[in-house]
């Protein structure tokens, strides 16, 4: 079965237990707490922070209302980062997680550019930098354990243990059973051709800091070019050889004309 998260952000209580569990399991350094207009900390994902809870304050019926957004890798079914990587440092495992093999990476950062969700982060300060991002706790999954964030989540926000299809069915059921409670969209169902992480939210997804991402399977966009390369090779070789033969014959004819002329003189 392919690993999948159903993340129902209406259930999130903003405890950030997932953030802490993620840091602990991955032994990632803590970030210095920074004051910002929001309560979010660390303010953004970075090379030491694979997941965070983004805090959004809004007004609902005259009351302050909190909305929480859980950020992290979506583990796309057909990931752009995997297709972008020139040395296969990033791979999509058969279990579902997109994982990184640091010893191959040349640090070109094309994966970062390619990701529609802006997930891969880089260790800019290090002399031997790595790409860093959520691993879906691949080692834990191989060990029949559930990912650290899901294990720790006390409110049932992060659900793990069902297939993508079942999670999608469950997400659709929640949407139809609770009219008005949710923004009527499963983020990740179609984005970038579908992802292993499905999100439900009360607010429109773009108000929670998520990118508007098209439905296109992103690797297909570059594959259209790459798969055309044999045809390009054929056309260029045919045109090059053809023009060489034709123009050479013209030149030879000119030279023959010249020798004929000199011959008659």
């Amino acid at each position: 079965m392919e690993a999948s998260f159903l993340i129902d952000m209406t259930k999130c209580i903003g405890c950030r237990g997932c953030q802490v569990a993620c840091k602990q399991w991955n032994q990632n350094q803590a970030d210095k707490t920074r004051i910002s207009l929001k309560f979010t900390n660390p303010v953004k994902l970075n090379a030491n922070t694979y997941t965070n809870i983004d805090f959004f304050e809004s007004e609902k019926a005259g009351h302050v209302s909190w909305n929480f957004a859980r950020n992290g890798c979506f583990h796309c079914k057909q990931p752009s980062c995997v297709s972008a990587c020139p040395v296969a440092a990033l791979i999509k495992t058969k279990e579902g997680p997109v994982i990184y093999r640091a010893e191959r990476c040349i640090g070109c950062r094309y994966c970062m550019l390619s990701c529609p969700f802006n997930i891969p982060k880089f260790e800019w300060e290090k002399i031997s930098p790595r790409i860093q991002k959520c691993t879906f706790c691949h080692e834990r999954i191989l060990d029949n354990k559930i990912p650290a964030c899901a294990k720790t989540c006390p409110s049932g926000t992060i659900h793990f243990g069902d297939s993508i299809e079942n999670n999608l069915k469950e997400a659709k059921r929640r949407l139809s059973d609770n009219p008005g409670k949710y923004f009527n969209h499963v983020y990740g169902e179609k984005e970038a051709g579908g992802t292993s992480v499905l999100l439900l939210s009360a607010l429109p997804i773009d108000q929670l800091g998520f990118q508007k991402v098209g439905d296109a399977v992103i690797p297909d966009l570059t594959w259209e070019y790459i798969s055309g390369i044999p045809a390009i090779i054929g056309v260029v070789l045919a045109a090059g050889i053809g023009s060489w033969i034709i123009t050479r014959r013209n030149k030879n004819m000119h030279e023959e004309d010249k020798t004929n002329e000199t011959g008659t003189e």
Partner: protein
Amino acid sequence: MKPAQNNIKLFTPVTLGLLIVIIAGALVVFKKLTLGTVTTNLQDDFPWGLWIGFNVLGGVAMAAGGFVTASAVYLFNMKKYKPLARPAILTAFIGYLLAASAIFLDLGHPERIWHPAVMWQVHSVMFIVAIHVILYTTVLGLESSPMLLEKLKLGGLKKIIEKGMVGIALFGTLLSVLHQSSLGAVYLIVPDKLHNLWYSRTLPFSFLVSSVMMGLAMVSFVSILSSKFFKRPVNMDLFSGLARGSIIAIAFYLVLKIFLLLNGAGAAAAFAGSMESKMYLLEMLAGVIIPLVLLLLPGVRNSLGGILLVDILVIFGVVINRMNVAIFGMLSHAAELGVKYFPTANEIMVSLFLVASGALLFKLAVKYFNVLSYEEG
């Protein structure tokens, strides 16, 4: 024939200026290699900057003169352009060496630059790009080798390479077509990030066509400057021929760009007054529309000064196009993520270092090898 290159002075004020930039830049290169990417303003939400936009994309486009000339001389048998082949191919060779250096410096792990050669990943455009940089730089080295071999008095080896030149030129043209277009294909992967004034499925084709335009301008530019700096006689016929080629390439590119604009962002987007629309108009006016109008005037087309001006405009315009795709067209997406990008002094110094190195290498090659006065059939 007395070798003309002896007349070229080694130390001139220009050379001195280049040397100062190179020495100062070399210190910054050392700093980047020892401290890493922290010396740049590159960041998580803006991973590629000046080096990729200007030195790699711009540099590779500027090297297009190599394949344009090689295919004209060796595949289309336009032998009258043969005097331009050596400077054009040498320019391309230097251009590729510098673009490869820029990639080397940009990488987080420069010491692993060889990985793509052994760790194939054929679904990656970046892999395609890497393979082409390796192969085409080798081909350009081969194409440039006769001038080194004649200096080393290795006539036999030179003859073998010259015998195979048509094949080498054909392979080089093939690699160039693929490499120029694959650099456009690199950006097919960012449909949600690159501004729609530039994003299109035909990016590979636009890059290829504009590189031909750039190639013609570069050959002409380098040859005119060489004739001025190194006091070489000018064959106006060649430059008029290049200008006629430019008219065709620029006109074709203009039609393509208008078609893409109307079928993409729409004409209104080009005049929206945004930063992107201004950059788009700059690229189109300076690099495409003004040069085309100028070239259609016989007075400009038949004067060396006029052609030089057009060359500069086209080179500037295509470089702006590459920087628009790599940098300016990506800024509004970055702004949504709360990020700005402007290169650090380090990044700018390294860029200048690479440009100055290219100019100095070209000058040294012209002084010590038979680059400009090679006119044998």
